[in-house]
């Protein structure tokens, strides 16, 4: 699980081009949108594609995206449950 979270953090920094953020500086339960990491709706769409590419997870509008994408913890949980 920790390895998955670390991988997620590295992928976030790489895919979203967060040059000013070190992966290890992202806390597992830190909100990544809004005030937290300062990401926005475009980043959410990028993360959805990232999850599809790296974990084969297809999130649709019906999948309660905001909750799934809220933190590294919530993404890791979702991946663990839904990964084929």
């Amino acid at each position: 699980m920790d390895a998955l979270k670390q991988q997620l953090k590295e992928l976030l920094v790489e895919h979203l081009n967060l040059k000013d953020v070190k992966p290890e500086a992202i806390a597992d339960d830190q909100p990544i949108f809004g005030e937290g990491l300062g990401l926005d709706s475009i980043d959410a769409l990028e993360i959805i594609v990232m999850l599809q590419q790296h974990f084969g997870i297809r999130l649709t509008k019906a999948d309660n995206g905001p909750q799934v994408l809220a933190t590294v913890n919530s993404m890791a949980d979702y991946i663990t449950t839904h990964r084929k």
Partner: protein, 345 residues
């Protein structure tokens, strides 16, 4: 309807005109590339994380132009780009084709539209005023200038950013090379070997040049654009006739300096000779495309050169007599022709 130039910002292959770039610095074969600044001086890392190179070049040039004018608010942004945001366009196209219309992400698409540069400049400066983008081949920048001139006529006090921006990418260079746009010989000597080779083709270039302009003079004005005109589907002689009309309309009988858009292509340059002959200019002539290469908005670079010559800026090679009037004539192959008439302030 004169437009006064109060500030100039440019990211191009010749940042300091007085020191023409060394071949190693800005030239790779028949390709000149922009010398880029440290973008952190203009945009913070977080704000620029999705921006492609052309958007960063545009913002840096726009911010330089505002700073050059002494700062202050901007009331509108008008941009011209012949090629648009190629890097993002190609990135999205590539993924579209390779991934078979699947697993596509939005960023390169939403930054691929031609208006992204003017939009991001407006966003960066929080400018809610007039905003427009022209994309019409080699008169994209002139179209933007014509729009800015209308705006200044409508409300002279407005401070407007007007610019020409084009980026060269590996893909566009490859495709344009296959279309035989560029010279096949690899240059190695001085930059002005671009000219007088009697061969087809030119060198590739790129650049982002913004001007802070207004309809009012004031102490910061460095030069004034008296007129800008485009000539479509016409001969060089027709353009020369239009140039003479522009002079007459501005109570001029000659100009001190002619700046022309020779690009080394024998046919293009022969047409420019026809223009010069018909126009009847007997004074000095400057060329500029050996400094910036050929690209659709290279005329923005020429306007920068002209304005800096008129202002007598220190970084510019001063001619013996600093000119008071300059006519810029540009063309690219069989496309459009353009004229810009400049006067010192």
């Amino acid at each position: 309807m004169a437009l006064f130039i109060h500030g100039i910002g440019s990211v191009d292959p010749a940042p300091a005109l007085g020191h023409a770039p060394e071949p190693a610095e800005a030239r790779a074969g028949n390709r000149l590339h922009a010398i880029e600044p440290n973008y952190l001086d203009f945009i913070d890392a977080r704000a620029s994380r999705r921006m492609s190179r052309i958007v960063k070049m545009g913002i840096a040039a726009a911010v330089q132009a505002v700073r050059g004018s002494g700062g202050g608010p901007v009331d509108g942004v008008v941009a011209g780009t012949g090629w648009g945001c190629l890097e993002d366009t190609v990135a999205f196209l590539q993924k579209l084709v390779v991934n078979g219309e699947d697993m596509l992400s939005p960023t390169s698409f939403i930054y691929s539209t031609h208006n992204t540069i003017a939009a991001q400049v407006a966003y960066h400066l929080k400018c809610r005023g007039y905003n427009n983008t022209f994309s019409h081949r080699n008169i994209s920048f002139e179209s933007a200038l014509i729009d800015a001139q209308l705006l200044a006529h409508e409300q002279p006090a407005q401070r407007l950013l007007v610019g020409g921006i084009d980026e060269l990418t590996d893909t566009s260079f490859t495709v344009l090379s296959r279309l035989k746009t560029f010279k096949s010989q690899q240059p190695g000597g001085p930059l002005d070997e671009l000219y007088d080779q009697g061969t087809p083709g030119t060198w590739a270039g790129e650049g982002a040049t913004f001007f802070l302009v207004s309809g009012e003079a004031g102490p910061t004005a460095r030069a004034q654009l008296l007129a800008v005109r485009t000539v479509s589907f016409g001969t060089p002689e027709k353009a020369a006739a239009v140039a003479r009309q522009l002079l007459t309309a501005n109570q001029l009988t000659w100009v001190d300096l002619l700046i022309t858009g020779e690009n080394g292509d024998q046919e293009n340059d022969a047409a420019i000779q026809r223009f010069a002959t018909d126009f009847g200019h007997s004074g000095p002539v400057h060329k500029f495309k050996h400094l910036c290469g050929e690209y659709p908005t290279a005329s923005a670079f020429a306007l920068r050169l002209g304005a800096e010559l008129l202002a007598g800026t220190e970084s510019t090679p001063r001619p013996a007599d600093i000119p008071r009037t300059i006519l810029i004539y540009n063309r690219f192959q069989q496309q459009h022709q353009s004229l810009m008439l400049l006067q010192a302030c």
